[in-house]
Symmetry: C2
Subunit: 254 residues, 2 copies
Amino acid sequence: MNYKMIVQYDGTRYDGWQRQGNTSNTIQGKLEAVLSRMDGEPCEVIGSGRTDAGVHSYGQAANVHLKREWSASEILEYVNRYLPEDIEVTEVTPAEERFHARLHAVKKTYCYQIGIGSSKHVFQRKYCYHTEEPLQVEEMQKAAQALVGTHDFQSFCSSKRSKKSTVRTIYEARVELDEESRMVRCIFTADGFLYNMVRILTGTLMEVGQGKRKAYEMEHILEARDRQAAGMTAPAQGLILVNVEYPQKEGTRR
Amino acid sequence: MNYKMIVQYDGTRYDGWQRQGNTSNTIQGKLEAVLSRMDGEPCEVIGSGRTDAGVHSYGQAANVHLKREWSASEILEYVNRYLPEDIEVTEVTPAEERFHARLHAVKKTYCYQIGIGSSKHVFQRKYCYHTEEPLQVEEMQKAAQALVGTHDFQSFCSSKRSKKSTVRTIYEARVELDEESRMVRCIFTADGFLYNMVRILTGTLMEVGQGKRKAYEMEHILEARDRQAAGMTAPAQGLILVNVEYPQKEGTRR
């Protein structure tokens, strides 16, 4: 039986989503350990994609094939009892046998939180990157607009050139200032993201906000198809995977 | 020179506000260590009141007499650079010499956060107490209303009977349900609180919400003047000191 799950986690103390050999300090590793124990059989949890070490999630999507038939509430109750306090499965839905959380994902939304000003953000400190340099949010927003659409995002990808396509479509990119919490949020929705793409996009937008780059340069950076043309990679701890979308009704069995 | 400070902290890893002998794992201890180093003289930080081990603060007030004259921004910059990441001084104001953060406080507001439902509250887990028992919020709100006014709160105090008055005035008491974050908040404003008072008030309101007590019993609990008459002491981690008020202009020198 195939089940779709939504997984929330505070990534602070984990080595990212993906299980790595024998080290189990990953979200996938923790989920597989608990689900395998419940099902009495080894299982593989398939995420919509990896998140790096230190990245958080409000709504990662995953699926798992289990040997026995469980009700959604049985799974929810069991896994949340045995998962550590910083990982939670918030939803379980029986899925069609062929449903695959990575292959079938059509949209993802990420949010990058930048804590600004002199505030130390005591209660949000693990979920944002803090900078005291002033940010021109309107310039960042202008630069973000240039990213929307279908482009080759090679410049915003950390991994070496490979034969895989680096073309992606960004449906929405916006930069918001939250005055009350002294936070700037960069929010991106796309059909998919390359390795480190959101962090490099955000790092580049920050450089625009700091006046080190101009908003109109974004176009040239895209055209360069060269990682060196873009800005720094923003640190992992400010990044949150917000949501993963699938074609309507995809994956739900009942 | 006397300075008023507003202090924010995540109390999770501290033994409360008050310095205890040689152990310095307290908020007061951390502040005094940094301020003494800056001023070159030992100093005493006077809080508006203690907070227990594990209790948090958005707006604790304190004052400190320093030997040298510093600008507010010099103090802010120095202390926030050397304080740990879970303590922040958010405001410094030069104060009249006679200003005393405890003696002059006229109102305090506390908020107790109860995480409800099956959610583990991954991102708020350290700032709430979690219960899966359903809570009748309207009954809790009714019970809270009976607490407003000037009463002897002996029943809601953990410490032994002493000669000190246990009469306090609660100006506002309300219970709110935040559907989105699955959180029930009990918010109290009073001229002062007895030892563990907010936690016992909240514990008792929770028992009303769980149907173990009736809202109309609050009056009898107050009249009993006996700790045994009230409910459990809610755990420290859900409690947040929100705000401390002083008479207008009190404490500000310029």
